[in-house]
């Protein structure tokens, strides 16, 4: 209960998010480790070199990074009680997150037509499961942001609720950082 004094002076919800993130590190760590250990083990193509589109994904990576910036600004706006800016930046997070997801949908669709499916080879299986679960995390984040935006539009997201935004922001930044790792491991180091 955040209203009570806590041992460490940190709100419990914030600490809970950090603890949850530690657990999530093991989740994505296991997925990435599997991807690495199955790299080059596919018996048939398409291979990563043949199919991964680094320029396109660089753009969507940039988009996701910018969404983290918008998240920081949204939190700041909520904390200072600037409702107009809070809505603007929360909206920006949603749009940028949505763009990233749109890029992923396009990419998955494109790969599917190029012959890379879940069942095609180990690359397909490990790639789709890893990036798909990351995408699912982004989706949850976008839904969370939409919820916060609706709260703000209804006038229920004043500075006294800034912890709500801070905890959501922690999650969002984490999902962003995970993408940086995935982008590096899957796309840049092949």
């Amino acid at each position: 209960m955040d209203s009570h004094a806590t041992t460490f002076g940190v709100p419990s919800r914030k600490m809970a998010m950090w603890v949850f993130i530690a657990s999530e590190c093991m989740f994505f760590g296991s997925l990435i480790a599997t991807y690495l250990s199955y790299e080059g083990k596919s018996l048939v193509g398409p291979t990563p070199e043949e199919i991964l589109n680094i320029p396109l994904t660089s753009v969507s990576t940039f988009v996701l990074l910018m969404s983290s910036l918008a998240m920081v600004l949204a939190l700041d706006a909520v904390q200072t009680g600037d409702r107009r800016l809070a809505r603007l930046w929360l909206g920006a997070v949603i749009v940028l997150g949505g763009l990233f997801l749109g890029g992923q949908v396009y990419e998955f669709n494109h790969f599917y037509h190029e012959g890379l499916t879940l069942q095609q080879n180990l690359f397909g299986a490990t790639f789709f499961v890893l990036t798909g679960f990351h995408g699912a995390h982004v989706t949850v984040g976008v839904i969370w942001m939409v919820t916060l935006l609706v709260m703000s539009l209804r006038g229920r997201l004043g500075p006294e609720r800034s912890l709500d935004v801070e905890v959501a922001g922690l999650y969002w930044h984490f999902v962003d950082v995970v993408w940086i790792v995935i982008f590096t491991v899957v796309y840049l180091i092949q």
């Binding site: 209960m1 806590t6 809970a16 599997t34 250990s37 199955y38 069942q119 180990l122 397909g124």
Partner: protein, 629 residues
């Protein structure tokens, strides 16, 4: 929100109220009781499964069950005992005791706590639903690929298993987040980390292990789910995959899981021994750091389950050494327990019997564990009954005895009534004898080469005598469990009132009435010792062994001097848990049910998130304005 009138003292009303009050409870004590009842129920279920296994193996060429049923029985027995009995039984004690022991009025997230319990319960029901459709899982609790592949195991049993264990994994992670934050952030003023009771310390380590160990097995299950539902080839060698991947992910979870199962018992014993020796725990800081070291090393030893997969000499050596290292902190604990008893003014009560029994039996299991740390020895013993003997000395001798020590120790606190000492000791001796009769002969059988998981064996192999003895032992254990239930019912019906502090305890839970009031502490205590209640009762002396117990008033008044706001009961966590379980169960029925589950889950989570947490603006005592329940 409705408010119940509460009566003091005794607070028997803690458990009163109809079905609805139990379904919507967010009180950690009630949730603890729910976990306990569920776990004991499944203890009987898993026990019956074990008895059928033992009947089948009692003599050569047994015909009680066929091979298929036998496979289902040992799979369900293992899965049940690990996920449906030992973990929830630990969770029961964690839930009930941790807030009391750290001086908190509840856990950090009471509704998340309710969600964890219901998710666990629905997951466990889904697992056992597989009996009703006539197709329980049959690939062992370890579910090695490719025993679980669609090609070799097309039935729905494996799907039930992988979905239900995943659901229960979500419950465990949610619970672990909750209790990690509770222990770190909800302590009473002055309850520094080094003043925390050992039980709470071990619980904290267990939470961290659950946080870090459950994700890898979740990933392993996701791959298996994709292999079975969507035709991927994560574990299929024909497509370049390897079944060994499952073993790595499973045991990266599986070995820490061993400590998830044993450390709660270590914690209980570290509370029981000092109380009944009337001495502080010997070397408490060493006990704490040993526990941390065990938890830490536990993540670096998983491949000792995989020596026979051919990882190579370097890997085998590293994992072997790391495994042997764990013997050091474990040994420290054992010596400290013995040193705690040494020279103590020992009160021979049932909890002490179980605690000492745990230490003795765990030593046997620990020693055979060190044997397996050596790859050549392990390869000899791999998949034989020697390993079955080892793991049951650890889980039955270690965990079950330790948890029963905890049940007898805290029974008066939880129920408000004493539990029979005579029947309790009978329970102990029957269980102790039965356990050794059952599992010690398995060492001999294993050494003689009897493989695990065979449903029958030929008469000329010479395994009949020890198998028969093991079966007799299993039934002695069953009788001991029956004695426990008789004792429990008698205590609840007509046990003598326990009072707040029946054992002359040292920790905070004994400072309040039994059972405690809903708000736990009328006044949140200020703690200035690792043994705050002994300090209160006896003053600053380490030697309390000769001091007699004072019949003083406990420091907790019956009536709080100020208004206390408690979290309001909520039906949304159980609804969210139901939605999550429908998503899992729906995967076996059809997409429409998955979507219904998602809708219920989202609806439940949103209602939960926007429901005010506190019962605001009402006095704790007396009927609320407007009354009603």
């Amino acid at each position: 929100m409705s408010v119940r009138a509460m009566t003091a003292p005794g607070h028997e009303s803690l458990y009163s109220g109809g079905m609805r009050s139990w379904l919507t409870t967010v009180d950690h004590k009630r949730i603890g009781v729910l976990y306990g009842i569920s776990a004991l129920f499944y203890f009987v279920v898993g026990g019956v499964e074990a008895l059928i296994i033992r009947l089948q193996l009692a003599s050569a060429d047994g015909t009680v069950v066929g091979a298929d049923t036998f496979n289902q029985l040992f799979t369900m027995h293992g899965t049940t005992m690990v996920f449906l009995v030992l973990m929830p039984l630990s969770a029961a004690l964690f839930n009930y005791m941790i807030p009391l022991m750290i001086g908190a009025r509840d856990v950090a997230f009471p509704r998340l706590n309710a969600f964890s319990f219901w998710t666990f319960l629905f997951g466990s029901l889904l697992l056992n639903l597989s009996f009703l459709v006539g197709n329980p899982p049959d690939a062992g609790w370890f579910g090695y690929a490719n025993l679980t592949s669609k090609q070799y195991n097309p039935g729905m049993g494996i799907d039930f298993w992988l979905l239900s264990v995943q659901i229960m994994g979500i419950a465990s992670i949610a619970s672990a987040v909750n209790f990690t934050v509770t222990i770190l952030n909800m302590r009473a003023h002055g309850m520094s980390l080094m003043r925390m009771p050992l039980f709470v310390w071990m619980a904290l380590i267990v939470q961290v292990l659950m946080l870090l160990a459950f994700p890898p097995i979740t990933v392993a299950f996701i791959y298996l789910m994709f292999d079975r539902f969507f035709g991927t080839h994560f574990y299929i060698p024909d497509a370049g995959g390897t079944p060994i991947l499952w073993q790595h992910l499973f045991w990266i979870f599986g070995h820490p899981e061993v400590y998830i199962l044993i450390l709660p018992s270590f914690g209980v014993v570290s509370e029981v021994l000092p109380t009944f020796s009337r001495k502080p725990l010997f070397g408490a800081p060493f006990m704490i750091f040993s526990g941390i070291l065990i938890g830490f090393l536990g993540f670096g030893v998983w491949s000792h389950h995989m020596f026979t997969t051919g990882l190579g000499a370097v890997a085998d050596t590293a994992f072997s050494l790391a495994t042997m290292l764990i013997a050091i902190p474990t040994g420290v604990k054992i010596f400290n327990w013995i040193a705690t008893l040494w020279g103590g003014h020992i009160h021979f009560k049932t909890p002490l019997y179980f605690a000492v029994g745990m230490v003795g039996l765990f030593i046997i299991g620990g020693l055979s564990g060190i044997m397996h740390a050596s790859p050549p020895v392990d390869i000899q013993q791999h998949d034989t009954y020697f390993v079955v003997a080892h793991l049951h000395y650890v889980f039955f001798g270690g965990t079950v005895f330790g948890l029963f020590a905890g049940i007898y120790y805290w029974w008066p606190k939880i129920t408000g009534r004493m539990i029979g000492e005579g029947l309790g000791k009978l329970h102990f001796w029957l269980m102790f004898i039965g356990m050794n009769l059952t599992f010690f002969p398995m060492h001999f059988l294993g050494m003689d080469g009897m493989p695990r998981r065979i449903y029958t064996y030929a008469a000329d192999l010479g395994w009949e005598r020890w198998n028969l003895i093991a079966t007799v032992g299993a039934f002695v254990i069953a009788v001991s469990v029956l004695v426990f239930f008789v004792n429990a019912v008698r205590s609840v019906r007509a046990g003598e009132p326990a009072g707040g502090d029946p054992w002359d305890g040292a920790t905070l839970e004994w400072t309040m009435s039994s059972p405690p009031p809903e708000y736990n502490f009328a006044i949140v205590p200020v703690v200035n010792s690792a043994r705050p209640f002994w300090l209160h009762k006896f003053g600053p002396t380490r030697d309390i062994s000769t001091r007699t117990r004072e019949e003083g008033t406990p420091p907790q008044p019956d009536t709080p001097p100020e208004r206390i706001d408690l979290p309001s009961p909520s039906g949304w966590p159980i609804l969210a848990a139901l939605g999550l379980s429908l998503v899992g169960g729906g995967a076996l029925v059809g997409l429409w049910l998955v979507l219904v589950g998602v809708a219920v889950l989202v609806f439940g989570v949103y209602r939960w998130a926007f429901q005010p947490l506190e019962r605001l603006g009402h006095p704790t005592f007396g009927p609320a304005p407007g009354g009603g329940r």
